[in-house]
Amino acid sequence: MNLRTLLAQAQDFYALSARSLLGIFHRPFRVRETVEQMDYAGSGSVLIVILVSLFIGMALSLQISTELAALGLKMYTGKIVGIAIIREIGPVAIALTFAGRVGSGMASELGSMVLGHQVDMLRVFGMDVVKKLVTPRVLSATLMLPVLTVIGDGAALFGGYYIAAFVSHQSGSFYWGQIAEIMNFNNIVSGLAKPFLFGFLIATISCYMGLAARGGARGLRQATTTAVVLSIIMIIVTDFLLTQILFLLLGMQA
Protein backbone atom coordinates (compact mmCIF):
# COMPACT_ATOMS: atom_id res chain seq x y z
CA MET A 1 0.00 0.00 0.00
CA ASN A 2 1.49 3.34 -1.02
CA LEU A 3 1.34 6.60 0.90
CA ARG A 4 -1.25 8.09 -1.42
CA THR A 5 -3.67 5.20 -0.85
CA LEU A 6 -3.07 5.39 2.89
CA LEU A 7 -3.82 9.13 2.95
CA ALA A 8 -6.93 8.61 0.83
CA GLN A 9 -8.15 5.94 3.24
CA ALA A 10 -7.45 8.16 6.24
CA GLN A 11 -9.41 10.95 4.57
CA ASP A 12 -12.33 8.58 3.88
CA PHE A 13 -12.24 7.36 7.48
CA TYR A 14 -12.36 10.88 8.93
CA ALA A 15 -15.13 11.85 6.50
CA LEU A 16 -17.15 8.78 7.56
CA SER A 17 -16.59 9.57 11.25
CA ALA A 18 -17.70 13.18 10.79
CA ARG A 19 -20.76 12.22 8.74
CA SER A 20 -21.78 9.57 11.25
CA LEU A 21 -21.69 12.20 14.00
CA LEU A 22 -23.58 14.79 11.96
CA GLY A 23 -26.20 12.15 11.21
CA ILE A 24 -27.20 12.15 14.88
CA PHE A 25 -28.50 15.70 14.59
CA HIS A 26 -30.34 15.51 11.27
CA ARG A 27 -33.66 13.97 10.31
CA PRO A 28 -34.71 11.27 9.83
CA PHE A 29 -33.65 10.08 13.27
CA ARG A 30 -33.01 6.36 13.05
CA VAL A 31 -34.47 5.56 16.46
CA ARG A 32 -35.51 1.96 15.74
CA GLU A 33 -32.15 1.05 14.24
CA THR A 34 -30.31 2.75 17.12
CA VAL A 35 -32.34 0.89 19.74
CA GLU A 36 -31.70 -2.40 17.91
CA GLN A 37 -27.99 -1.68 17.85
CA MET A 38 -28.01 -0.67 21.53
CA ASP A 39 -29.65 -3.96 22.34
CA TYR A 40 -27.04 -5.87 20.35
CA ALA A 41 -24.07 -3.89 21.64
CA GLY A 42 -25.32 -3.40 25.20
CA SER A 43 -27.63 -6.15 26.40
CA GLY A 44 -25.88 -8.71 24.23
CA SER A 45 -22.49 -7.89 25.79
CA VAL A 46 -23.47 -7.76 29.47
CA LEU A 47 -22.75 -11.38 30.33
CA ILE A 48 -19.37 -11.56 28.63
CA VAL A 49 -18.35 -8.22 30.18
CA ILE A 50 -19.34 -9.42 33.67
CA LEU A 51 -17.50 -12.70 33.18
CA VAL A 52 -14.30 -11.10 31.86
CA SER A 53 -14.33 -8.34 34.48
CA LEU A 54 -15.00 -10.70 37.37
CA PHE A 55 -11.93 -12.77 36.58
CA ILE A 56 -9.76 -9.72 35.91
CA GLY A 57 -10.76 -8.36 39.32
CA MET A 58 -10.00 -11.68 41.00
CA ALA A 59 -6.61 -12.08 39.29
CA LEU A 60 -5.65 -8.49 40.09
CA SER A 61 -6.70 -8.82 43.70
CA LEU A 62 -4.78 -12.07 44.06
CA GLN A 63 -1.59 -10.57 42.62
CA ILE A 64 -1.79 -7.36 44.61
CA SER A 65 -2.77 -8.90 47.95
CA THR A 66 0.08 -11.44 47.64
CA GLU A 67 2.67 -8.71 47.03
CA LEU A 68 1.23 -6.42 49.70
CA ALA A 69 1.12 -9.28 52.23
CA ALA A 70 4.89 -9.68 51.86
CA LEU A 71 5.21 -6.02 52.86
CA GLY A 72 2.59 -6.30 55.59
CA LEU A 73 0.29 -3.93 53.72
CA LYS A 74 -2.41 -6.24 52.42
CA MET A 75 -5.15 -4.10 53.98
CA TYR A 76 -4.59 -1.67 51.09
CA THR A 77 -5.62 -4.25 48.49
CA GLY A 78 -9.04 -2.63 48.03
CA LYS A 79 -7.60 0.79 47.37
CA ILE A 80 -5.06 -0.35 44.78
CA VAL A 81 -7.43 -2.78 43.06
CA GLY A 82 -10.13 -0.08 42.99
CA ILE A 83 -7.94 2.60 41.48
CA ALA A 84 -6.45 0.22 38.93
CA ILE A 85 -9.85 -1.04 37.84
CA ILE A 86 -11.78 2.20 37.80
CA ARG A 87 -9.16 4.38 36.20
CA GLU A 88 -7.38 2.05 33.86
CA ILE A 89 -7.95 -1.69 33.64
CA GLY A 90 -11.75 -1.63 33.62
CA PRO A 91 -12.23 0.81 30.72
CA VAL A 92 -9.45 -0.75 28.65
CA ALA A 93 -10.29 -4.41 29.26
CA ILE A 94 -14.00 -3.87 28.63
CA ALA A 95 -13.25 -1.84 25.48
CA LEU A 96 -11.04 -4.66 24.21
CA THR A 97 -13.79 -7.18 24.90
CA PHE A 98 -16.29 -4.87 23.20
CA ALA A 99 -14.03 -4.55 20.14
CA GLY A 100 -13.78 -8.33 19.92
CA ARG A 101 -17.49 -8.94 20.18
CA VAL A 102 -19.28 -5.86 18.85
CA GLY A 103 -16.62 -4.37 16.57
CA SER A 104 -16.06 -7.64 14.74
CA GLY A 105 -19.82 -8.09 14.45
CA MET A 106 -20.26 -4.63 12.93
CA ALA A 107 -17.43 -5.11 10.44
CA SER A 108 -18.58 -8.55 9.33
CA GLU A 109 -22.24 -7.55 9.11
CA LEU A 110 -21.55 -4.45 7.01
CA GLY A 111 -18.93 -6.29 4.96
CA SER A 112 -21.43 -9.03 4.23
CA MET A 113 -23.99 -6.41 3.20
CA VAL A 114 -21.45 -4.81 0.85
CA LEU A 115 -20.49 -8.11 -0.75
CA GLY A 116 -24.15 -9.16 -1.02
CA HIS A 117 -24.99 -5.86 -2.80
CA GLN A 118 -27.40 -4.90 0.00
CA VAL A 119 -25.53 -1.64 0.55
CA ASP A 120 -25.72 -0.95 -3.18
CA MET A 121 -29.47 -1.55 -3.02
CA LEU A 122 -29.83 1.02 -0.24
CA ARG A 123 -27.96 3.55 -2.38
CA VAL A 124 -30.14 2.74 -5.39
CA PHE A 125 -33.20 3.27 -3.18
CA GLY A 126 -31.84 6.76 -2.49
CA MET A 127 -30.88 6.21 1.14
CA ASP A 128 -27.98 7.78 2.95
CA VAL A 129 -25.94 4.69 3.82
CA VAL A 130 -23.92 6.44 6.52
CA LYS A 131 -27.02 7.71 8.27
CA LYS A 132 -28.85 4.42 7.89
CA LEU A 133 -26.06 2.00 8.80
CA VAL A 134 -23.20 3.84 10.49
CA THR A 135 -24.81 6.50 12.68
CA PRO A 136 -26.98 4.05 14.71
CA ARG A 137 -23.94 1.83 15.31
CA VAL A 138 -21.68 4.70 16.31
CA LEU A 139 -24.30 6.18 18.62
CA SER A 140 -25.10 2.86 20.25
CA ALA A 141 -21.44 1.96 20.82
CA THR A 142 -20.64 5.42 22.18
CA LEU A 143 -23.54 5.23 24.63
CA MET A 144 -23.41 1.57 25.60
CA LEU A 145 -19.69 1.13 26.25
CA PRO A 146 -19.72 3.53 29.26
CA VAL A 147 -22.73 1.64 30.67
CA LEU A 148 -20.94 -1.68 30.18
CA THR A 149 -17.84 -0.20 31.78
CA VAL A 150 -19.79 0.70 34.93
CA ILE A 151 -21.24 -2.82 35.05
CA GLY A 152 -17.84 -4.39 34.35
CA ASP A 153 -16.12 -2.24 36.98
CA GLY A 154 -18.70 -3.40 39.50
CA ALA A 155 -18.10 -7.05 38.59
CA ALA A 156 -14.30 -6.59 38.76
CA LEU A 157 -14.52 -4.91 42.16
CA PHE A 158 -16.71 -7.76 43.37
CA GLY A 159 -14.15 -10.29 42.06
CA GLY A 160 -11.46 -8.35 43.93
CA TYR A 161 -13.58 -8.41 47.06
CA TYR A 162 -14.07 -12.19 46.83
CA ILE A 163 -10.32 -12.81 46.73
CA ALA A 164 -9.54 -10.20 49.41
CA ALA A 165 -12.17 -11.50 51.81
CA PHE A 166 -12.20 -15.26 51.20
CA VAL A 167 -8.69 -16.07 49.96
CA SER A 168 -6.56 -13.34 51.51
CA HIS A 169 -8.76 -13.28 54.65
CA GLN A 170 -9.13 -9.52 54.85
CA SER A 171 -12.06 -7.63 56.22
CA GLY A 172 -14.76 -7.28 53.59
CA SER A 173 -16.16 -4.09 55.05
CA PHE A 174 -12.67 -2.55 55.10
CA TYR A 175 -12.25 -3.50 51.42
CA TRP A 176 -15.52 -1.77 50.47
CA GLY A 177 -14.65 1.16 52.69
CA GLN A 178 -11.48 1.69 50.72
CA ILE A 179 -13.38 1.41 47.44
CA ALA A 180 -15.80 4.09 48.69
CA GLU A 181 -12.84 6.27 49.64
CA ILE A 182 -11.40 6.25 46.10
CA MET A 183 -14.74 7.04 44.47
CA ASN A 184 -13.91 10.71 44.04
CA PHE A 185 -14.56 13.02 41.11
CA ASN A 186 -11.14 12.61 39.53
CA ASN A 187 -11.18 8.83 39.53
CA ILE A 188 -14.75 8.57 38.27
CA VAL A 189 -14.15 11.09 35.46
CA SER A 190 -10.89 9.35 34.54
CA GLY A 191 -12.67 6.02 34.26
CA LEU A 192 -15.85 7.16 32.57
CA ALA A 193 -14.52 9.63 30.00
CA LYS A 194 -12.51 6.99 28.20
CA PRO A 195 -15.31 4.55 27.24
CA PHE A 196 -17.19 7.25 25.30
CA LEU A 197 -14.17 7.76 23.05
CA PHE A 198 -13.33 4.06 22.90
CA GLY A 199 -16.92 3.23 21.85
CA PHE A 200 -16.84 5.89 19.14
CA LEU A 201 -13.48 4.65 17.83
CA ILE A 202 -14.48 0.98 17.80
CA ALA A 203 -17.70 1.69 15.93
CA THR A 204 -16.23 4.06 13.34
CA ILE A 205 -13.23 1.81 12.64
CA SER A 206 -15.41 -1.29 12.39
CA CYS A 207 -18.02 0.37 10.17
CA TYR A 208 -15.33 1.84 7.93
CA MET A 209 -13.58 -1.51 7.51
CA GLY A 210 -16.90 -3.29 6.91
CA LEU A 211 -17.99 -0.84 4.24
CA ALA A 212 -14.57 -1.08 2.60
CA ALA A 213 -14.73 -4.89 2.35
CA ARG A 214 -13.99 -6.23 -1.13
CA GLY A 215 -13.36 -9.60 -2.72
CA GLY A 216 -15.51 -12.34 -1.22
CA ALA A 217 -14.94 -14.43 1.90
CA ARG A 218 -11.26 -13.57 2.10
CA GLY A 219 -12.04 -9.85 1.88
CA LEU A 220 -14.62 -10.22 4.63
CA ARG A 221 -12.13 -12.03 6.87
CA GLN A 222 -9.53 -9.36 6.22
CA ALA A 223 -11.99 -6.53 6.93
CA THR A 224 -13.09 -8.10 10.21
CA THR A 225 -9.56 -8.88 11.35
CA THR A 226 -8.31 -5.42 10.46
CA ALA A 227 -11.24 -3.81 12.26
CA VAL A 228 -10.49 -5.66 15.49
CA VAL A 229 -6.70 -5.22 15.31
CA LEU A 230 -6.97 -1.49 14.51
CA SER A 231 -9.53 -1.02 17.27
CA ILE A 232 -7.25 -2.71 19.80
CA ILE A 233 -4.27 -0.60 18.78
CA MET A 234 -6.33 2.59 18.87
CA ILE A 235 -7.75 1.73 22.31
CA ILE A 236 -4.28 1.24 23.78
CA VAL A 237 -2.76 4.32 22.14
CA THR A 238 -5.77 6.53 22.88
CA ASP A 239 -5.83 5.31 26.48
CA PHE A 240 -2.31 6.58 27.03
CA LEU A 241 -2.99 9.93 25.33
CA LEU A 242 -6.29 10.39 27.13
CA THR A 243 -4.71 9.55 30.47
CA GLN A 244 -2.13 12.29 29.85
CA ILE A 245 -4.84 14.77 28.90
CA LEU A 246 -7.01 13.87 31.89
CA PHE A 247 -4.05 14.21 34.25
CA LEU A 248 -3.55 17.69 32.86
CA LEU A 249 -7.21 18.67 32.99
CA LEU A 250 -7.86 17.24 36.45
CA GLY A 251 -4.65 18.57 37.92
CA MET A 252 -3.30 15.14 38.77
CA GLN A 253 0.43 14.50 38.87
CA ALA A 254 2.47 11.43 37.97
Binding site: Q118, D120, M121, D128
Partner: protein, 248 residues
Protein backbone atom coordinates in the same frame (compact mmCIF):
# COMPACT_ATOMS: atom_id res chain seq x y z
CA UNK B 1 -31.27 9.23 -22.87
CA UNK B 2 -28.30 7.20 -21.64
CA UNK B 3 -24.84 7.84 -23.06
CA UNK B 4 -21.53 6.18 -22.23
CA UNK B 5 -18.70 8.23 -23.69
CA UNK B 6 -15.25 6.59 -23.76
CA UNK B 7 -15.72 5.09 -20.31
CA UNK B 8 -12.64 3.41 -18.89
CA UNK B 9 -12.40 1.63 -15.54
CA UNK B 10 -9.72 -0.51 -13.93
CA UNK B 11 -9.81 -2.39 -10.65
CA UNK B 12 -6.23 -2.11 -9.38
CA UNK B 13 -4.19 -2.97 -12.49
CA UNK B 14 -6.98 -4.94 -14.19
CA UNK B 15 -8.63 -2.82 -16.89
CA UNK B 16 -12.27 -3.93 -16.92
CA UNK B 17 -13.68 -1.41 -19.40
CA UNK B 18 -11.64 0.24 -22.09
CA UNK B 19 -13.15 3.34 -23.74
CA UNK B 20 -16.65 1.90 -23.88
CA UNK B 21 -19.22 4.03 -25.71
CA UNK B 22 -22.87 3.46 -26.48
CA UNK B 23 -26.18 5.27 -26.33
CA UNK B 24 -29.62 3.99 -25.40
CA UNK B 25 -33.11 5.27 -24.77
CA UNK B 26 -34.99 4.62 -21.54
CA UNK B 27 -37.49 2.45 -23.41
CA UNK B 28 -34.87 0.25 -25.07
CA UNK B 29 -34.51 -3.43 -24.20
CA UNK B 30 -30.80 -4.12 -24.17
CA UNK B 31 -28.73 -7.15 -23.33
CA UNK B 32 -25.04 -7.06 -22.51
CA UNK B 33 -23.45 -10.39 -23.29
CA UNK B 34 -20.03 -11.65 -22.42
CA UNK B 35 -18.08 -14.13 -20.37
CA UNK B 36 -17.33 -13.88 -16.67
CA UNK B 37 -15.18 -10.93 -15.66
CA UNK B 38 -15.80 -8.98 -18.88
CA UNK B 39 -17.29 -6.00 -17.04
CA UNK B 40 -20.99 -6.60 -17.66
CA UNK B 41 -22.07 -5.98 -14.07
CA UNK B 42 -19.70 -3.01 -13.93
CA UNK B 43 -21.74 -1.37 -16.72
CA UNK B 44 -24.83 -1.51 -14.50
CA UNK B 45 -22.94 -0.19 -11.48
CA UNK B 46 -21.55 2.69 -13.54
CA UNK B 47 -25.03 3.50 -14.79
CA UNK B 48 -26.22 3.84 -11.19
CA UNK B 49 -23.01 5.64 -10.18
CA UNK B 50 -22.28 2.93 -7.62
CA UNK B 51 -18.75 3.01 -8.99
CA UNK B 52 -17.03 5.90 -10.78
CA UNK B 53 -15.12 5.54 -14.03
CA UNK B 54 -11.42 6.37 -14.22
CA UNK B 55 -12.14 8.42 -17.34
CA UNK B 56 -14.97 9.16 -19.73
CA UNK B 57 -18.46 10.50 -19.18
CA UNK B 58 -21.80 8.89 -18.41
CA UNK B 59 -24.69 11.12 -19.39
CA UNK B 60 -28.23 10.53 -18.15
CA UNK B 61 -30.73 12.87 -19.77
CA UNK B 62 -27.86 15.19 -20.65
CA UNK B 63 -26.33 15.28 -17.15
CA UNK B 64 -22.85 13.90 -16.48
CA UNK B 65 -23.40 11.67 -13.45
CA UNK B 66 -19.72 10.95 -12.88
CA UNK B 67 -19.32 14.30 -11.13
CA UNK B 68 -22.42 14.26 -8.94
CA UNK B 69 -22.47 13.81 -5.18
CA UNK B 70 -24.50 11.06 -3.47
CA UNK B 71 -27.36 13.46 -2.70
CA UNK B 72 -27.36 14.81 -6.27
CA UNK B 73 -27.47 11.24 -7.57
CA UNK B 74 -30.71 10.34 -5.76
CA UNK B 75 -33.11 11.72 -8.42
CA UNK B 76 -30.99 10.10 -11.16
CA UNK B 77 -31.05 6.71 -9.44
CA UNK B 78 -34.82 6.91 -9.05
CA UNK B 79 -35.07 6.57 -12.84
CA UNK B 80 -33.70 3.04 -12.54
CA UNK B 81 -33.99 0.02 -10.37
CA UNK B 82 -31.78 -3.03 -10.29
CA UNK B 83 -32.16 -6.71 -9.52
CA UNK B 84 -28.82 -8.19 -8.53
CA UNK B 85 -27.74 -11.72 -9.33
CA UNK B 86 -28.58 -13.23 -5.94
CA UNK B 87 -31.44 -10.84 -5.27
CA UNK B 88 -29.60 -8.84 -2.56
CA UNK B 89 -32.59 -9.21 -0.24
CA UNK B 90 -32.07 -7.94 3.31
CA UNK B 91 -31.51 -11.25 5.06
CA UNK B 92 -32.77 -10.14 8.47
CA UNK B 93 -36.15 -9.16 7.01
CA UNK B 94 -39.01 -11.34 5.76
CA UNK B 95 -40.21 -11.14 2.15
CA UNK B 96 -43.05 -8.86 3.29
CA UNK B 97 -40.63 -6.53 5.09
CA UNK B 98 -38.19 -6.56 2.17
CA UNK B 99 -40.85 -5.51 -0.31
CA UNK B 100 -42.34 -2.99 2.12
CA UNK B 101 -38.91 -1.56 2.95
CA UNK B 102 -38.87 1.41 0.58
CA UNK B 103 -42.51 2.28 1.12
CA UNK B 104 -41.94 2.38 4.88
CA UNK B 105 -38.83 4.51 4.43
CA UNK B 106 -40.72 6.95 2.25
CA UNK B 107 -43.44 7.15 4.91
CA UNK B 108 -46.17 8.19 2.48
CA UNK B 109 -48.48 5.20 2.94
CA UNK B 110 -50.32 3.74 5.92
CA UNK B 111 -49.42 0.24 7.12
CA UNK B 112 -52.68 -1.10 5.63
CA UNK B 113 -51.91 0.42 2.23
CA UNK B 114 -48.34 -0.87 2.35
CA UNK B 115 -49.56 -4.37 3.16
CA UNK B 116 -52.03 -4.28 0.28
CA UNK B 117 -49.37 -3.00 -2.12
CA UNK B 118 -46.91 -5.67 -0.97
CA UNK B 119 -49.50 -8.38 -1.61
CA UNK B 120 -50.28 -6.94 -5.06
CA UNK B 121 -46.62 -6.90 -6.03
CA UNK B 122 -45.98 -10.40 -4.72
CA UNK B 123 -49.07 -11.64 -6.58
CA UNK B 124 -47.73 -10.00 -9.73
CA UNK B 125 -44.42 -11.83 -9.46
CA UNK B 126 -46.14 -15.06 -8.42
CA UNK B 127 -44.92 -15.61 -4.86
CA UNK B 128 -47.72 -14.26 -2.68
CA UNK B 129 -47.59 -17.49 -0.65
CA UNK B 130 -44.02 -16.71 0.41
CA UNK B 131 -44.92 -13.39 2.03
CA UNK B 132 -43.87 -14.40 5.52
CA UNK B 133 -40.81 -16.45 4.62
CA UNK B 134 -37.26 -15.32 5.28
CA UNK B 135 -34.86 -14.93 2.31
CA UNK B 136 -32.89 -18.05 3.26
CA UNK B 137 -36.09 -20.08 3.00
CA UNK B 138 -36.60 -19.08 -0.64
CA UNK B 139 -35.32 -20.88 -3.72
CA UNK B 140 -33.08 -18.97 -6.15
CA UNK B 141 -36.01 -18.21 -8.45
CA UNK B 142 -38.20 -17.01 -5.59
CA UNK B 143 -35.41 -14.78 -4.29
CA UNK B 144 -35.19 -13.09 -7.66
CA UNK B 145 -38.95 -12.70 -7.87
CA UNK B 146 -38.98 -11.14 -4.40
CA UNK B 147 -36.14 -8.84 -5.46
CA UNK B 148 -38.09 -7.79 -8.55
CA UNK B 149 -41.13 -7.06 -6.37
CA UNK B 150 -38.99 -5.01 -3.99
CA UNK B 151 -37.52 -3.05 -6.88
CA UNK B 152 -40.98 -2.30 -8.22
CA UNK B 153 -42.04 -1.10 -4.77
CA UNK B 154 -39.29 1.51 -4.81
CA UNK B 155 -41.26 3.67 -7.23
CA UNK B 156 -41.93 3.89 -10.93
CA UNK B 157 -38.53 3.31 -12.56
CA UNK B 158 -38.13 4.20 -16.23
CA UNK B 159 -35.69 1.37 -16.72
CA UNK B 160 -35.09 -1.99 -15.03
CA UNK B 161 -31.56 -3.35 -14.73
CA UNK B 162 -31.00 -7.08 -14.27
CA UNK B 163 -27.70 -8.65 -13.30
CA UNK B 164 -27.61 -12.29 -14.47
CA UNK B 165 -31.31 -12.81 -13.68
CA UNK B 166 -31.42 -16.44 -14.83
CA UNK B 167 -28.00 -17.69 -13.78
CA UNK B 168 -28.12 -20.76 -11.57
CA UNK B 169 -31.83 -21.40 -12.15
CA UNK B 170 -33.41 -24.48 -13.67
CA UNK B 171 -34.67 -23.97 -17.27
CA UNK B 172 -38.34 -23.73 -16.29
CA UNK B 173 -37.74 -21.16 -13.56
CA UNK B 174 -35.40 -19.25 -15.88
CA UNK B 175 -38.18 -19.14 -18.47
CA UNK B 176 -40.66 -17.88 -15.87
CA UNK B 177 -38.25 -15.13 -14.80
CA UNK B 178 -37.76 -14.25 -18.49
CA UNK B 179 -41.53 -13.98 -18.93
CA UNK B 180 -41.76 -11.74 -15.88
CA UNK B 181 -39.00 -9.47 -17.20
CA UNK B 182 -40.76 -9.25 -20.58
CA UNK B 183 -44.05 -8.45 -18.87
CA UNK B 184 -42.51 -5.62 -16.86
CA UNK B 185 -41.13 -4.05 -20.05
CA UNK B 186 -44.15 -4.75 -22.21
CA UNK B 187 -45.66 -2.13 -24.51
CA UNK B 188 -44.51 0.03 -27.35
CA UNK B 189 -41.73 2.62 -27.21
CA UNK B 190 -41.53 5.33 -26.01
CA UNK B 191 -44.27 4.54 -23.45
CA UNK B 192 -42.86 1.31 -22.12
CA UNK B 193 -40.32 0.74 -19.36
CA UNK B 194 -36.92 -0.26 -20.75
CA UNK B 195 -34.59 -2.93 -19.51
CA UNK B 196 -30.91 -3.76 -19.51
CA UNK B 197 -30.02 -7.33 -18.80
CA UNK B 198 -26.44 -8.45 -18.37
CA UNK B 199 -25.95 -12.14 -18.82
CA UNK B 200 -23.91 -14.85 -20.44
CA UNK B 201 -27.17 -16.69 -21.15
CA UNK B 202 -27.91 -15.86 -24.81
CA UNK B 203 -31.24 -17.69 -24.79
CA UNK B 204 -32.52 -15.68 -21.82
CA UNK B 205 -31.26 -12.46 -23.40
CA UNK B 206 -32.91 -13.31 -26.74
CA UNK B 207 -36.24 -13.82 -24.98
CA UNK B 208 -36.38 -10.37 -23.38
CA UNK B 209 -34.16 -8.06 -25.46
CA UNK B 210 -34.10 -6.44 -28.86
CA UNK B 211 -30.58 -5.05 -28.92
CA UNK B 212 -27.45 -6.99 -28.01
CA UNK B 213 -24.00 -5.73 -27.08
CA UNK B 214 -21.10 -8.13 -26.68
CA UNK B 215 -18.26 -7.25 -24.32
CA UNK B 216 -14.83 -8.72 -24.88
CA UNK B 217 -11.58 -7.55 -23.29
CA UNK B 218 -13.26 -4.46 -21.94
CA UNK B 219 -14.64 -3.30 -25.29
CA UNK B 220 -17.95 -3.60 -27.10
CA UNK B 221 -17.20 -5.77 -30.12
CA UNK B 222 -20.78 -6.25 -31.27
CA UNK B 223 -23.83 -3.98 -31.14
CA UNK B 224 -26.90 -5.08 -33.06
CA UNK B 225 -30.17 -7.00 -33.19
CA UNK B 226 -30.84 -10.74 -32.82
CA UNK B 227 -30.47 -11.70 -36.52
CA UNK B 228 -27.21 -9.74 -36.60
CA UNK B 229 -26.03 -11.54 -33.46
CA UNK B 230 -26.86 -15.00 -34.80
CA UNK B 231 -25.25 -14.29 -38.19
CA UNK B 232 -22.19 -12.48 -36.89
CA UNK B 233 -18.83 -12.81 -38.65
CA UNK B 234 -16.98 -12.31 -35.36
CA UNK B 235 -15.37 -15.70 -34.71
CA UNK B 236 -15.04 -15.07 -30.97
CA UNK B 237 -18.72 -14.17 -30.64
CA UNK B 238 -19.72 -17.14 -32.82
CA UNK B 239 -17.87 -19.48 -30.46
CA UNK B 240 -19.53 -17.84 -27.44
CA UNK B 241 -23.03 -18.25 -28.88
CA UNK B 242 -22.42 -21.75 -30.25
CA UNK B 243 -21.00 -22.94 -26.93
CA UNK B 244 -24.09 -21.77 -25.08
CA UNK B 245 -26.55 -23.19 -27.59
CA UNK B 246 -24.65 -26.49 -27.59
CA UNK B 247 -24.83 -26.59 -23.80
CA UNK B 248 -28.58 -26.15 -23.99
Amino acid sequence: MIEFQDVTLAYNSNRVLDRVSFTAQFWDRLAFLGGSGEGKTTILKLLLALVRPDSGRIMIDGEDITRLSESQLRPIRRKFTIVFQEGALFDSLSVRENVAYCMREQGALSEEDIDEEVRNLLRKVGIEGAIDLMPEELSGGMQRRAAIARSMAAGEPRMMLYDEPTTGLDPLTAENIGDLISELSAGEPPDRRGSIIVTHDVTAAARVSERFLYLKNGRITFDGDLPGLLNTDDEELKKFIDALFLLR
